[in-house]
């Protein structure tokens, strides 16, 4: 069976600085992988390469069997991306934003799907409001609606909790649990270990440009996650 994400010896350099060093990574269909690591570990760079926003210097990246950057358009159809910025237009309503992205993704009759995703993220009643009137938490939920609008197989989330208060984070948790339960492969970066502990089925620690350690949820009790993370970082540094 083809892995949802398969990365082989991925290297990324920016000038003289090497950010990713021969990174290997796989994620099976339906797996929820939490990508942990300190600032500067290369998490965002890695996600941007998976999202086809940045080209690898060397190595192979496949999403659902399609290779990057050669089959970028195929990969983009299979991907949804949520970052700490909502990637939405403040002067359009929520519905207009989703209509716009539906047109870019070639959805034939998007009205029903737009209604579904807005209901899923709890924004159906605010669909005609301008996005600039939304709170940060609402914008982030709408960003998830945008990311899953075209029903992607793989969802990439880069620090989606940045700037959210406790209530908004809890609401985002509920939406992400619902989205993951639909069988999508999810890769999420976060600094908030307690948050990802409740969501992820696997924990990978990225340090110094490669995966330093990996553990499944079955192998790791919630209380052990912090120790696992610290050990992986310390071993990679030594």
């Amino acid at each position: 069976m083809t892995a949802a994400i398969a990365v082989d010896r991925l290297t990324k350099r920016f000038g003289l600085k090497t950010v990713l060093r021969g990174l290997n990574f796989t994620a099976a269909q339906g797996e929820f992988v939490a990508l942990l690591g300190p600032n500067g570990a290369g998490k965002t760079t890695f996600l941007r390469i998976l999202a086809s926003l940045s080209r690898p210097t060397s190595g192979e990246v496949r999403i659902g069997g399609a290779a990057l950057p050669r089959e970028a358009a195929t990969v983009r159809r299979r991907l949804g991306v949520v970052s700490h910025q909502p990637l939405l237009y403040g002067d359009l309503t929520a519905e207009e934003n989703l209509h716009f992205f539906a047109r870019l993704y070639g959805l034939a009759a998007p009205e029903e799907r737009i209604g579904e995703v807005l209901t899923l993220v709890g924004l159906a009643r605010r669909r005609h409001d301008l996005v600039r009137t939304y709170s940060r938490g609402m914008q982030q939920r709408l960003a998830i609606a945008r990311a899953i609008l075209h029903d992607p197989d793989v969802l990439l989330l880069d620090e989606p909790y940045t700037g959210l208060d406790q209530d908004a984070s809890a609401m985002l948790d509920a939406v992400l649990q619902e989205v993951a339960a639909q069988g999508r492969t999810v890769v999420m970066t976060s600094h908030d270990l307690s948050r990802v502990a409740a969501l992820a089925s696997r924990f990978d620690v990225l340090a110094r440009g490669r995966i330093a350690a990996s553990a499944s949820r079955a192998d790791l009790a919630d209380a052990q996650l912090l120790a696992f993370y610290r050990t992986a970082i310390a071993e990679e540094a030594s």
């Binding site: 089959e71 358009a73 909502p86 990637l87 237009y89 359009l92 047109r103 870019l104 070639g106």
Partner: protein, 230 residues
Amino acid sequence: MSGDAPITSLWQATRAIAWKDLTAERRSRELLSAMLVFALLVILAFNFALDLDPKTRGSVASGVLWVTFIFAGTLGLNRSMATEKDRGCLDGLLLAPIDRSAIYFGKAIANLAFMLIVEAIVFPLYSVLYNVNLFLPGLLLTVVLGSVGYVAVGTLLSSMAVQARTRDMLLPILLFPVALPVLIAAVKASAGYLGGLPMEEIIPWLNLLGVYDVIFITVAFMVFDFIVEE
């Protein structure tokens, strides 16, 4: 067709992006009001600074007009791409399975619409202030061709400049030298129409504008994907 071809056609994606920019601007009116106020201030400044007699006014009209359009247009070009970059929306567009040239064409169509709206408002005001009849079919054609050329190269260069921290300063520095042929041709053709010169003296300038437009639209179509690639 290749299996990796986008499912949304270039034209559909271009229309969607232009619609998005025009709808957002219809709501906020940030860009148009800034361009318009700036254009009117430039015209007024020239009007009082030059303090010309009626005959001389006619001879400098085309220069003043184009300097006004170019300055106001630069303001619009800078903001148009900056709004995409500041909220990370450019990434949202780049993530879509579309031909990336559609981003260029969509933005260029919206930028052209904004520039033409400003020109349509400036024209009658300028006619009154300078007592010059600008409503000549040939002059209107020149304005459209000149604006297309300026927006074609401006949208491309603003996509490059927006990646830099000094983008507000960088765009004019990059744009004015490259847009010089379109500015010279537009001023010469406009002066020809306003001065009542024979068509054979105007046609070469119009040809230059047309060729410039085609070249820069083609170049943008070919290189835009590489410009926005990280």
